[in-house]
Amino acid sequence: MWKTIVKKELLENILSYRFPLFGLIAMLLIPLGMYVNQLDYAKRVRDYDEQVRLSTEAASSLSIQEVMAGTVAIKGFRRPALLSVYTRGFEGTLPRYYEFTQEGTKPGESSSSEESILSVQGKFDFVFLVQMVLSLVALLFASDVISGEKEAGTLRAMLSNRLPRDAILTGKVAGGYLALWAPFAAAFLTGLLFLILGGIPVFGGDTPAKILIVFFAASVFLLAYFVLGTMVSASSSKTRTALVAILLVWAFFQLIMPKLGDMLAAIVHPIRTETQVSLEKSLLAGSLGMETAKELGRQYDLIFGSAPKGAADDEASPERKQWDGVKAGIEQGAKERKAQQLGTIDETYRQQKRRQQELAINLSLVSPSAAFARLVADVCGTGELERTKYAEAVQAHARTLDGALFSKVKRTLMIHAGGGTSLGFSAEPVDFKTLPQFTIAPTSLADVFKANWKSLLSLLFWLVAPFAAAYMRFIKYDVR
């Protein structure tokens, strides 16, 4: 009996005008989106390869003098994410590289600077199409799933038979969804074929599994919207009413709720801007530097004030030996103090920001759309997880370079009692060819699932809750 309902629903959809129309839209947009993004990805990879090559060449010809002069910036590049062909996520806004200097790290430009003005309306990628176009189609497919039968009176004809209502509801949802899913799956596979033909290496490592997850997540997302539409349809006696309600539901879940999270989080947990924090750190570093320079100057004057002439340059003199010990102590203390105080500012800001972000994410996850986008972006290596890993990799590389390169060069600034200043340099030899390469730790699927359990829960909720509501409405519906 259930199969009869599924088949009927499928056939009814196939025979209606909307099935070929949707098929055409899906077969046109999804492969086209894949093709365009595959071209874009190939271009970004070419740029990346060229920049890495140039940067490696430049690094191998560096000299310690250039480091001493403070003009050296070692660059660490981020390779474009392979699966950014499915969703751009943060891909356009993440810096393409970071510059590592003795003074710290500095982000390079992002690829967003090269993007078209039209990208302000959202990137034309798979996730955008699923979120903005297919979700609406799913709702429209579901709009008359129950109300259409009520309105046409066919529900009475069906219910006059030995047919449980739950079988009708589940059969109609399954058949209706299948009619939506089949063209979508065909379009997805066609898009995948475009990627393969375009030379995108989709069969390496865990990429096939990730593509499968993207497809599965999109299927679940569309099912959630279909079920949401069924709930509205089961609550309406007229399809026209259901359509209006569905458009409102779509606008709320797609356009309002995901963006509301950021705004509410900013109100509940206001924090300083990154620029303010950076300014505070610069001021603190400057002030600590001045203090150290003054202390070094004072100690220098104290030790060498009454020393014989030339004692400062004579490494064997007792004053010089004393000075070397004092200087090392002051510099080490200053370094630790600076690291501790700047670390405290960074840590406080990170904690505040994490709290705000967590709240924003939790609020936005109330929308199935945000849950889907977040999950897929993380699977594709263009989401929050990648951003965090990139930041961690930058910090780790900065520490490594500090040990392997920048700490080999010491600059000592002193401010003497009379107001005079002096600057001294010292350097150890460095082999620039063996400097460590910048790498970002790969994101495993376990990382993705661990970071996205809330997104998965949200999608599950949006499958179960509207279905339960539709079920309750339909079971209790009085057929008149």
């Binding site: 009996m1 009869t4 009927k8 056939l11 009814e12 025979l15 209606s16 046409a152 009176g153 066919t154 009475r156 004809a157 069906m158 219910l159 006059s160 038979n161 030995r162 047919l163 449980p164 009085d478 057929v479 008149r480």
Partner: protein, 246 residues
């Protein structure tokens, strides 16, 4: 010889809707195999509510209805095995052909092993034109839809048939054809309960005729009794009479 057991039975059946309207007031009726029972009455008299209660579309406020001895409220799915339903505007899937509609509803009615010819045979029996068998029903006339609706009821082969104003809007030829099919089904032993506004056809086909007013069955006559009475006059008199005391 004792009368056969009723296939359709309403026992003290009442329905009051959530808005307080009493749609059916302590109805008692029985329809036996090979009997056609016609329910007459104005709009809102309770005819459709009676049929809706038999089909478990709505729950009764009090009382019980039985189909083939099965309590509709207690076991609605079992009860529906024994009943077929044809409504005023036969509701079909417009994009399906006549055969596809018949196939779908036959399967819902439990007939899963029918062949194409079985469907054609039933459609021929109700005089649906051959060329319409594989045409989409969205362009069918009301008469053609009604014939297809009867085909669905015939193919289910249930002992009881509920008809909700089936001749409404049919041209005289189609209505006559329809009554001929009803007569055949009656002769096959089906218990038929038909709500209608059509006094003449009720008199023609009904073995018993009941008049409903404000949810109550106010009159019931057998075919024999109606041979000596003017049903039109009785009906009009009841309709003109004072509202019933609650």
């Amino acid at each position: 010889m004792t009368d056969p057991k009723p296939i359709l039975k309403a026992d003290d059946l009442s329905k009051r809707y959530e808005d307080g309207i009493l749609a059916l007031d302590h109805l008692n009726l029985e329809v036996r195999p090979g009997e056609v029972y016609c329910l007459l009455g104005a709009n809102g008299a309770g005819k459709t509510t009676t049929i809706n209660l038999f089909l478990n579309f709505i729950p009764p406020t009090t009382g019980t209805c039985f189909i083939n001895g099965v309590d509709v409220n207690k076991d609605p799915l079992e009860a529906k095995k024994y009943v077929a339903f044809v409504s005023e505007n036969v509701m079909l899937y417009g994009n399906f052909t006549a055969r596809q509609n018949l196939d779908f509803f036959a399967k819902l009615g439990g007939k899963t092993a029918l062949a194409k010819n079985d469907y054609y045979q039933v459609m021929r029996r109700v005089s649906l034109q051959e060329k319409a068998f594989d045409q989409r029903v969205k362009n069918f006339s009301k008469g053609m839809r009604q014939k297809l609706g009867i085909s669905i009821a015939i193919i289910k082969d249930a002992p009881a048939i509920l008809l909700d104003e089936p001749t409404s809007g049919l041209d005289p030829k189609a209505a006559t054809e329809f009554l001929e099919i009803m007569a055949e089904l009656k002769n096959e032993g089906k218990a038929i309960l038909m709500s209608t506004h059509d006094i003449f056809r009720a008199k023609e086909i009904g073995d018993r005729v009941g008049i409903m007013k404000e949810g109550r069955l106010v009159m019931e006559r057998t075919r024999q009794e109606l041979q000596y009475e003017d049903l039109v006059k009785i009906y009009i008199d009841y309709m003109k009479s004072e509202p019933l005391a609650v």
